[in-house]
Every structure is written in structure tokens, then in C-alpha cells.
Amino acid sequence: MFNKEFEAMPVNKMKELQLERLKWSIRHAYENNPFYRKKYDDAGFNPDQFKTLDDMRRVPFLTKQDMRGNYPFGLFAVPLSKVVRVHSSSGTTGNATVVGYTKGDVEVFAEVVARCLAAYGATENDVIQVAYGYGLFTGGLGLHYGAEKLGALTVPISGGNTERQLMLIKDFGTTMIACTPSYMLNIADYIEKKRPDYDIRKTKLKAGILGAEPWSEAMRGEIESRLGIQAYDIYGLSEVIGPGVSCECQEKAGLHVHEDHFYVEIIDPDTGEVLPEGEKGEIVYTTITKEAFPGIRYRSRDITRLYREPCKCGRTLVRMEKVTGRSDDMLIIRGVNVFPSQIETVLMEAEGTEPHYQIIVDRKGALDDIEVKVEVNEKLFSDELKVLDGLKRRIEDRMRSVLGISAKITLVEPLTIARSEGKAVRVVDKRKI
């Protein structure tokens, strides 16, 4: 453990620590940021009323809209002279949001990422190749400073250029690579198609540190079997700090939340009511040590569950279930709730491979129509029509039995589905509701 004092802190002591830090954080936001002050005044909430953790439910939520509305620096609670770095989310569904960090925040960011790396078994003896994009996106720099803090040899290669990634894995003896799970699969495809001579199992690569997009257990299985590595989830949101809010340990049994820096709650996404521990709902984050950009009760839209059963690794930190869906991404198709990750799982299980896909939802007349485009790679292709037709039919049947919806499967040529910054554009919703 990188920081045993906090990672294995007795739960009662952690709750006391969180309460103290929460009191500071809420007051800090209220006193030093006009937006928070007005929002709390309007809601009739005063930080003096915050006495126990149970009072959390009285604190107003912070939404993505609040963030966008305060672009660029409206949610900062320190003078700009104290801000040493900014990051910005790509804003996949609208305007970008900008987050700021003081020197202290940058330190916390590195600390939580270092803890994650240690949780995957990394030490100063490891060579960590950071294949996330460096720049405004939190992935690259976040992993970079975390890996340095741990003392690992940090390779700042950034994203893309697969040939070069492979070369450095071999030449530098890279032991862990940090990137998106889809890029990890791209690497597997690349090796199979273009570098059959490259034996990744003969390199020192032992783990992938994968995050920045929701991914399924089926995808983990594919990555691990195709590349012969362990695939670990790292989770975070730029609005909270970036990657490192929570991470899996080597048990791969949920993600430990760094509770001494982030307070988490699960709410009912429709009513906003806090749900009892163990129930599934939207996870809400509160930063309790952040200075430049306090996020108090930030609604993440990520759907998950929290649980406190002791973990074999010895960490006492609460665990959250792997996030496989975002309430924003959830599609309601003919009244059925569908997460893109479920469709991904069907594709993986139907063919034992993860093709690139895109879900297109449209409304024809009064009915919702769902089409899933699947890129035909060499593994799926056949010179026989009946084989390709059979593939289509098999996926359609599985969709029907697993998801309860009829989807039209369209086989498309490789590289025809749009990708942005290594992330595939998974859902196109053309419905005008």
C-alpha cells in the first residue's frame, strides 16, 4: 500500500476524518466562491447547519450545467495566482468544463494516482508507459505525475503511434501501460494484423491501467487473453480530480474510493434521495481536500453501487462497483432501458472478439429504431455470404434474448465508425424527443 495510514484506516476513524474535512470543504466553497454562496443562500442552506454526515442530504447538488455555466473559472475558490494548472474535459455532450488545481491539489492528484498504481502491484522497479493523451485531458499528466510519485520509470509517450508503443514496450522493458481499454484492444488488433512477428508475451508487459471510458468484464477478459496481461480499472472524472478517484486492487473486485479525499454517496437519479449503502444508483462526489475547484455533491451520472465488505487486499476504503453505464448514456428504447455496455457485452460474447461498433437510435414514425453498426474485421470476415449472414443473425438473436430489443445489425467496413481521441463514438441518438 502506498499510504497505509489512510488506505487501511479503520472505518470509524475515516468517517471522523471525512466529517472534519467536509466541514472545511463546504465552508471553503461557500465563503470563497460566489456561485456556491448564492446557490446555498437561495436553497436556504448555511454551512453552520452541517454537523454530521447525515446532514449531507441537505447540501444542494452541483450539476454539469453549473460547471458549464461557470466556464471557464467561475467555480474556482482561490485567486488565479494560486492556481498552477488547469485541465478541461473534452465535453463530449456539449461545452467543455475547466478545472483548476493549486500546488496542493496537484500533490493530492499525484498521491491518489500513485496509490492506484501501487494497488495494481507497481513499485519503483516498474516501467510505466503512459499512453493516454497528454494535454488538457487529465489522463496523461495525471498518470505521469502519479507514476513519478511512486518512483517508477515513467515513459511519457502519449497516445497513438502503435508501432512506437510496441517498440518502447520491447526496448524499455515496459511493465505496465496506461491507456483507454479501446486503445488496448487496438494494440491487440494491430499486433495480429500488422506485426504477427511481435510476441507481446515475450515482453515484460504485465498489466494495463485502463480507464477514461466505461468498459465491461467481457472486454477485460478479451484484453487479458489476447495480450497475456492483467487489465486493471482506474476510474476518475476531471470534474472531481481526474483518474485516481478510485481504483481496483489486484483482487479486481470493485474499485476502492480514496475516501480521505473524496466523499461518495449513491442517490436515486430521479428523486435525488440518498440510497442506503449497497443499493445501485447514481454516484455523487464531494471533494474534501481540494482547494482550487471544490466539487460539492457533484452529480456524476455514473451508475454504480457502494459496498463495505472487507477486501482481501487489506484496504478498508469503500468499494464501488465497476461503472458500466452512465445514466446519461442510458438509452430508453421502446421503453426498455439499455446501456451501451450491455450491447458491447453481447457483441463480445457472440463472437469472442471486440469489434468496433456504434449504436444508432432513431425514431421511425412512432417507434424507436435501433441499429448497431459492426465493423467487419478479419476475424469476422468470410468469403461466404452465409457465414456473414449467420453472424448478423446470431447477434440479433442475442440482443433479443439478452436485452429484450430487436436491433438491426449492419455490417460495415473497417475504420468507417468515427473515433475521437482514441475513444470510439459509441452512441448516436437521432431521436427528437
Binding site: K193, V376, N377, E378, L380, F381, S382, D383, E384, L385, K386, L388, D389, T410, L411, V412, E413, P414, L415, T416
Partner: protein, 143 residues
Amino acid sequence: MNVTQLSVFMENKPGHLQGVLKILAEAGINIITLTIAETSDFGILRMVVNKPDGGYEALKEKGYTASLTDVLAIEIDDTPGSLLKAIDTFSRRKLNIEYMYAFTEKRGDRAVMLFRFEDIELAKKALNEEGYSIVKKIDIIGE
């Protein structure tokens, strides 16, 4: 003696066939015969070309999904009922045909048909026994 067929996955959309043909033309690949099997949204372009490996690499390079498969080129008399007779023979010998198409040029007074059998080795053996003439690869693609 097998003929190597180059197959490409194509969406059934305007311009896509031209796209594939252009890549092959630029790579100096000569198409000897071709056929397209299609559904409403996609198709498989199957070709016999002078340099199958070169064609495959050129298409792959440009991001197309392609494959190489062995097919048999068989001489059939250019008379009424000859194809039926051949197919009857296949059926009697329990040879399953996945698909077939014709070769554009005749060899003397005989036509050449390309067959994709489920089991090519079994087909070769049976057809030799039945006295069919299997055209050599070299005669098809030249050189």
C-alpha cells in the same frame, strides 16, 4: 493446382466498388475474373487476380477487410446440359458447393467454372476420378 481467390468485404453503397478497384489498379493488380455476392447492405467481392498476395496487402494497407481462399477452376463442355451433369456428379460424390461463378474466357471449346467447395481436397480427388480437368493456377493467371 488450386486457384487463389481474393475476397473483400464491401458495403453495398455507391462508390465502394470503385474504391476497391482503384486500390487494385494503383497496385498494378490485374483482375482476371470477378463476381459479387450481395445482400441489401453489404457484399463480398470475389476475384481471381494475377497477384493475389499483392492485392491482399494493398487492400489491407488501405483498411479493407480481405481474405485469400482456394477455389477450383474446372473445365466444362460448352454444350447444353454440361453444367447440370457436373453438378449431378458433385452431388453424387457428396461434394458441397459453397458458391460458383464462370470464368470469362473459354479454353478452346470448353468453358471454365470456378467452384468453392466445402472440402477442396476431397473435391479434387473425386473430380480427378470422374475425369474432369482441373485447370492449373498457372494457366489462369498467366506467367
